[in-house]
């Protein structure tokens, strides 16, 4: 009894604290993710409040957080949106992948962490935060802007890239060699194509399995199906995250829309726990040595994402100011960078410093992204005026 009481108090304090942090973050127009990470760092080794006795719950809750994050990522776009997105924006998508994965990979190699860590860090710096970006676009009233479909199509491409990237990463982290890795590439491309075809042709059957007019039944079936698929995927040495993601893609139409509406609050809860646990497992004393590299990555990948947006918008005939807005909007990194780093650190196949580097990097990018999106217009105006002033 005593134990349960302590656990409830601790858990309550954590959630309440996160609630206050989240409120604070949205007040100042930022994503709460960096504050959750900081919260985790504070609770962790030598932190303010050492948490004992709730680890079994928080560990499991953070796993569920990852499953829900990926399930909702899969639900976000319908299979047809993914396919048209792939067809229409693959050039911009490739530019995005090359420009933004390279800095992460190079820094990991520079640090002598090896090829697997290079692949991990490439993923961390590549993937933008669709959560933060969608929020920024809505908050700043930019949904109707002409660069917005360009920004969204880049995100759609990243979404698909994750479907190929995650299985490969999981295989490499499990210690499969290069040849085995290539085999996994083949299998994952095959599986994702199969899931897409399945979702396009028979999406309504997959949806019918989980769908129900009764919200309670629907929620239970949905969550049950997600955890079952994730668990089975984990058993088969494919990561749980990948399974949940593919299930998300396979569920389509109105079922998908209802599912994401219903699961969003649940995801926010468990994902918050996931960020805190990631922060908890990061040793704060490991941050100072990797700080210069984190800053280097911040500068490099802010530039490369900005370029990606600029180029993608230019290809659609959008003017300079719109290109600048597209570039700035894409800068934010967040939840999925942490998911990738979490998978890697959890497997033990990469150095522990990678967690410290990823935490620092995401802390900075999740703050810089929204700020950049906000200030890009005044800054661009000033630059234009200065250039014009210098000319006259």
């Amino acid at each position: 009894m005593q134990h349960t009481a302590t656990a409830l108090i601790e858990l309550g304090a954590v959630f309440f604290g996160l609630g206050i942090l989240g409120r604070l973050a949205w007040r100042i127009g930022l994503s709460p993710i960096p504050l959750y990470l900081l919260g985790g760092l504070a609770f962790g080794q030598g932190g303010l409040v050492p948490l004992t006795g709730i680890e079994p719950f928080t560990e499991l809750a953070s796993e569920i957080g990852v499953v829900l994050l990926l399930l909702l990522l899969g639900l976000e776009y319908s299979a047809s949106e993914l396919v048209t997105g792939l067809r229409r924006s693959w050039t911009a998508g490739l530019v995005d992948a090359v420009l933004n994965a390279a800095p992460g990979a190079l820094v990991a190699l520079l640090l002598g962490w090896g090829p697997t860590a290079a692949l991990v860090l490439a993923g961390v710096t590549y993937i933008s935060s669709s959560g933060i970006i969608a929020k920024i676009l809505a908050d700043l009233g930019r949904l109707g802007n002409r660069e917005t479909p360009v920004v969204l199509s880049v995100l759609v491409f990243e979404d698909l890239a994750m479907a190929v990237y995650l299985p490969i990463l999981t295989a490499l982290l499990a210690g499969v060699g290069i040849m085995g890795g290539l085999g996994t590439v083949g299998i994952s491309v095959l599986v994702i194509s199969l899931v897409l075809v399945l979702a396009l042709r028979y999406g309504r059957y997959v949806s019918a399995v989980v769908d129900s007019p009764d919200p309670e039944v629907f929620l239970l079936r949905l969550l049950g199906a997600a955890l079952l698929v994730a668990g089975l995927a984990a058993r088969l040495q494919v990561s749980a995250a990948v399974g949940a993601f593919l299930l998300g893609i396979a569920i389509s139409g109105s079922t998908a829309a209802n599912a994401s509406r219903m699961l969003t609050p649940l995801r926010d809860l468990f994902a918050a726990v996931f960020f805190v646990v990631f922060g908890l497992n990061t040793d704060p004393s490991a941050i100072p040595p990797v700080l210069p590299f984190a800053l280097l990555l911040v500068v490099l990948t802010t530039t490369t994402k900005f370029l990606t947006g600029w180029v993608a918008a230019a290809r659609q005939g959008i003017r300079r100011m719109g290109r600048a807005r597209a570039g700035a909007a894409l800068i934010a990194r967040g939840e999925f960078s942490i998911v990738i780093a979490g998978l890697a650190v959890g497997s033990g196949a990469v150095p522990g410093q990678l967690a410290a580097l990823s935490t620092t990097y995401v802390l900075l990018m999740a703050v810089i992204g929204p700020v950049a999106a906000r200030v890009v217009e005044p800054v661009a105006h000033r630059v234009v005026n200065t250039v014009a002033g210098a000319r006259s």
Partner: protein
């Protein structure tokens, strides 16, 4: 970007999917500004107008409820209706369309269309009534007038003058 351009009333409407969010439908006005509607996945509707300086950017966006969208559509559509009627009747010599307000406190405020005996007294036809922005076409004799209704009538100038007198003073 997939953009389909169906023509509505001779104007090219561009349909752009917003993956994960919804669909955007818009057209460019003669003055070069984009006007459109974003339909969110959850059914919310947003009206957007582009900036005069930067056509890529929107300067106004406002969310509308279902009732508000139909009110707006009717506000914009009502003058069109009168315009079209006038256009059609131009061929017929001596016949015009008038749009007259029924002032609150008029003898017919709260009474039926039939009671005005408009057709018998002035040979004017009441073809539509616009109330709160929505059009009630071909109102029947049992249609009950209310203050601030706009009554759309077709007839001779003389007849319409008489009709206006009737609506005002009985």
């Amino acid at each position: 970007m997939e953009r389909k351009s169906p023509k509505i009333e001779g104007v090219d409407v561009t349909v752009t999917p917003l993956p994960g969010l919804g669909t955007q439908q818009e057209f460019t006005t003669g003055s070069g500004r984009r006007i459109g509607v974003i339909t969110h996945r959850d059914g919310r509707i947003e009206l957007i107008v582009s900036d005069a300086q930067d056509p890529d950017k929107i300067c106004a966006a406002t969310e509308l409820t279902g009732e508000e969208t139909s009110t707006l559509a009717n506000l914009l559509g009502a003058p069109q209706l009168v315009g079209k009627l006038t256009e059609q009747q131009r061929e017929v010599t001596g016949v015009t369309t008038w749009q007259l307000p029924l002032v609150p406190g008029s003898p017919y405020d709260g009474r039926t269309l039939g009671e005005t005996e408009m057709r018998t007294r002035t040979s004017v036809s009441i073809v539509a009534v616009i109330r709160n922005g929505s059009v009630h076409p071909s109102p029947r004799p049992d249609f009950v007038f209310a203050g601030e209704d706009l009554v759309v009538m077709v007839g001779t100038t003389e007849g319409l003058r008489a009709a206006s007198e009737i609506l005002e003073n009985g």
